[in-house]
Symmetry: C2
């Protein structure tokens, strides 16, 4: 049987052109290289090199052997990375969501139910989420549209309602409820990553947005500003509201999102406790 180090060295020679260059790439000495190539020839029983001047070049057989070597090494590489990736994905739950809101509280619940697994989250658009759920990139995803794919199972996992966060001095701060159109032409502070809410914000005519990266720094900016902004019932529960501001509910139907937690049908049993917890909660 031909050991891998021989194929590795052959591959290096094929790529580098000389034994010396190859030996330097692999951080071994020329004699080692020389011996290895001779050993390969012995094992196969066919000469793989021809002497051309003072250098050694692969002959037809050597080139064939080098091609095989490359493929075999690639195959080994693929083997270890695939197994490592697979094992990693089984130790972690990657939860994708079409909006940040559901990721405020759900990950910690997941974490308490599956303490031996790492929970990671990502916000992306629904189409990508669904595709990568099927591709096993995600273990679970949260959407606002129930997918009608029979290989995917769906459970309700809460909702989110959008409010204007207005300084107390704002002309509409005293209202019970307002509509998007009431804020026509105003400028808003908002988070840059809001997922599906992006489409909703566009419902305000002639609005302008100043987007701030993460929610933490957004809150700092909002605190020291009199610009209108947005909050939801979920952000309120998590962070509360500045004393200087009022949260005015938005009455348009688009201001309410209903979330669905989806996983592959085959995984439904695996996450049974999770879905039971969702049932109780919502």
């Amino acid at each position: 049987m031909i050991e891998t180090y021989l194929l590795e060295q052959l591959d290096a020679v094929a790529r580098c052109g000389t034994l010396l260059a190859a030996s330097e790439e692999l951080h071994i000495t020329q004699p080692s290289m020389s011996r290895a190539m001779k050993k390969l020839e012995d094992l196969i029983g066919v000469e793989l090199f021809e002497h051309r001047g003072n250098r050694l070049v692969l002959n037809d057989y050597g080139r064939i052997a080098a091609d095989y070597a490359r493929r075999i090494l690639d195959s080994q590489e693929e083997m270890v990375t695939r197994i490592r990736m697979l094992e990693r994905s089984r130790r972690t739950i990657l939860l994708g969501s079409c909006a940040p809101g559901p990721l405020f509280e759900l990950p910690s619940i997941l974490s308490s139910l599956y303490p031996d697994r790492t929970i990671s989250t990502e916000v992306r658009d629904e189409e990508s989420l669904l595709k990568d759920l099927e591709q096993r990139v995600y273990q679970m995803i949260i959407l606002i549209h129930k997918p009608d794919d029979p290989t995917i199972c769906t459970h309700p996992c809460g909702s989110e309602h959008l409010y204007f966060s207005l300084p107390k001095e704002h002309r509409l701060a005293g209202e019970k409820a307002v509509r998007f159109s009431d804020m026509d032409g105003e400028s808003f502070l908002m988070a840059s990553e809001v997922g599906v809410w992006d489409a909703v914000h566009r419902l305000i005519p002639n609005a302008r947005y100043l987007r701030q990266g993460d929610i933490g720094s957004l809150r700092e900016v909002v605190r020291s500003s009199t610009m209108p902004s947005f909050v939801t019932d979920l952000t309120l529960r998590l962070y509360g509201l500045d004393d200087s501001r009022t949260a005015v509910p938005i009455s348009d139907p688009e201001a309410r999102m209903t979330y669905w937690c989806c996983c592959r049908k085959e995984d439904e049993k695996r996450y049974l406790r999770w879905f039971q917890a969702l049932e109780r909660r919502y």
Copy 2:
């Protein structure tokens, strides 16, 4: 990098079910096996086995690894056999022929022109010969039909004429020439391997044949028998004819074969001297 012996041992474990059985198959000890599997797990960084009772069984990752191992080992096997076969085929000239006649003298001429190469010969049907010429099984083949494939080049290499070998007492022994039909209903001694001549012999109505394996033993049987048999100009040149017999030419056109020596176009230059020798001779 993962050395081949580890993959070999993993493959054996996957096939045998236990480390013990696998170690026996490979003629090594259990501890060696045990260490190797642990080493594999260390290198990949993922556990490949689960303890079930007092035995070790592959888990999902282990099975994936074993699949890769099998493929990689197969690939290595393929590499060495392919290179060996290729090298062997370049050291030998495998000459196929649709009839034994051309193989009486041509191989020794080939051998004198290419003294460093081994000459092997085979008699097979034209269709198989042509297919395996393209598949590089044969370096050259001899046919009775000029193939019209443009990737194949063709040179005449002689002809062969069939005679009846008749005991002097035979009713037709004195004839200048006879036809197949003149021998209607007779029984013949003949060689079992005659290639394309097989079809010709069937032209004699109601004939019966007693076939003898090799030409040597056929000649022995013929010598001590009064049954009609066959010879050709080529066998006559090689072996002569028994004193007790006469060779009567067969006048049917099917009794004459014209031979063509074919090789792949790409090899024509390689065998130039050979084809020049054929030109001079025929």
